[in-house]
Symmetry: C3
Subunit: 198 residues, 3 copies
């Protein structure tokens, strides 16, 4: 139940970030809603297709789609009334990234896959929606050129697996992995940490 | 049989629109054929992958691929001989959109999905090929910034479902949904209707 | 075993070409590795998803992912130490294209598909990774506007099928198809052959 609510929160946050990008690209009302939805469900959809999990999560339970549509409309309303709280959004986005990455990793783990596939699937679930958002608005995907983002997801998932190998319980390891991603991401924002560019 | 022919017509029309976009982007002969094919079968392919329908429609019956290749070649020939009849293409495209959207909606319906998934799958089937065409020629997808397009598909599918709930027969409801999409789309072209941009 | 090694070589070569494109787009360390991986496994992933082959090849056997990561890192190191041997890479890329195209064609053939689907799947396997690489770095895909590339794959696969219909053994036909692709591609590079652009 807690996980379900956290997942919903992650989708709402990603929907808002997609709506902001679409507004910035001057898309129309429907374009904003569609980009918001793709940003929110894109990563999980890629994960389900690649892991052959059917029905895909939002086909099995479409209720979150309504939350996404509402979040997109609320974002449109909000930006016309109030200044966009950039930091609040970045913090929420860090939470969404952490949630999606860890839930994707857990699904790959339960399906019996090894370390590299777990890390890759978790990362893809976390960043896939943002990549689709950027491709559709013809940007080079932010996650590929931004300060620690996908790498935060990777590090957190690796931490989660390491903790389990060291005998730490599943729940605690999950929480530590999530905390690791959020902290890394927030530190990167706060101090402008970056991976080397060549 | 009528539906099969209408479907084929939809693919030919979308192939022509893809070929025109590829010619405009100065792609070579093969690039034109490939973009034409992706525009024609992209939406249905995404639909089949997401609904886990295998074999995918053009793998199960590859004959339409030949029609698509011929349509692409005919388009190349045509633009060198005669002026492009912009309006004729837009009308044909409206028909293709309506056909694909309604057939996608019907497939999702038969698979037992609810309202939101039916609308989403139908719309994706109608506009997916055009989105792939635009991404591959590095445009922001037209359907996300154009006058009533994806929204026409959504409205027509919603009309179709509403008619059924009101007890209207499946065939009549299907026809009304299609007519709704075509009329909305043509009105949007004729009078330049647009969704609000913020 | 020979085929496995050739496949691995193809992935390493494609990983290097992806890393070069990502370096050129000024992506960070992780972006370079991710684009390298997507270029190397993208075509085969699309093939497996469309043919409903699960688990997808790199999920079934993730060991090549390590080779890809190493190839990306080696590419980064290399370009800082030595001039890029453009021709060596193009020759290797031609080999990778031929390998991937022929292996994709063979998989579609074994699944019982007809001529057009075999050619399409083989070509997609050969060029899909490069298309994803270019979309993610916001280029119009090179294979759609370059001298004989996808068309070399198509011609080689058609040759392979023709040889089999003429009674030539499977292995010899496979070798002839591969040789055809490599020769066509190298001739195109050497003499600047191009398909017509309109």
């Amino acid at each position: 139940m807690v996980l379900y609510l956290l997942d919903l929160l992650g989708m709402v946050v990603f929907a808002a970030s997609g709506a902001l990008a679409a507004l910035h690209a001057h898309l129309d009302l429907l374009g904003v809603v569609v980009i918001a939805a793709i940003t929110a469900i894109g990563g999980g959809t890629l994960r389900d297709v690649l892991l052959n999990r059917h029905p895909i999560f939002w086909i099995a339970d479409p209720r979150p789609l309504w939350a996404i549509v509402l979040a997109a409309l609320a974002t449109i309303l909000y930006v016309h009334l109030l200044p966009v709280p950039r930091d609040a959004l970045l913090v929420a986005d860090a939470l969404g990234l952490a949630l999606f990455a860890m839930s994707g990793a857990q699904l790959a783990e339960r399906a019996g896959h090894g370390f590299l596939v777990i890390v890759f699937m978790g990362t893809l679930t976390g960043v896939g929606g943002g990549i689709l958002r950027d491709v559709l608005t013809t940007q080079i995907p932010l996650v590929l050129r931004q300060d620690i983002y996908a790498s935060a997801a990777m590090a957190g998932i690796a931490l989660y697996r390491l903790m389990q190998l060291l005998g730490v319980g599943q729940r605690l390891a999950f929480g530590l992995g999530m905390a690791g991603i959020v902290l890394l991401r927030l530190s990167a924002i706060r101090w402008g940490l970056q991976l080397p560019v060549f």
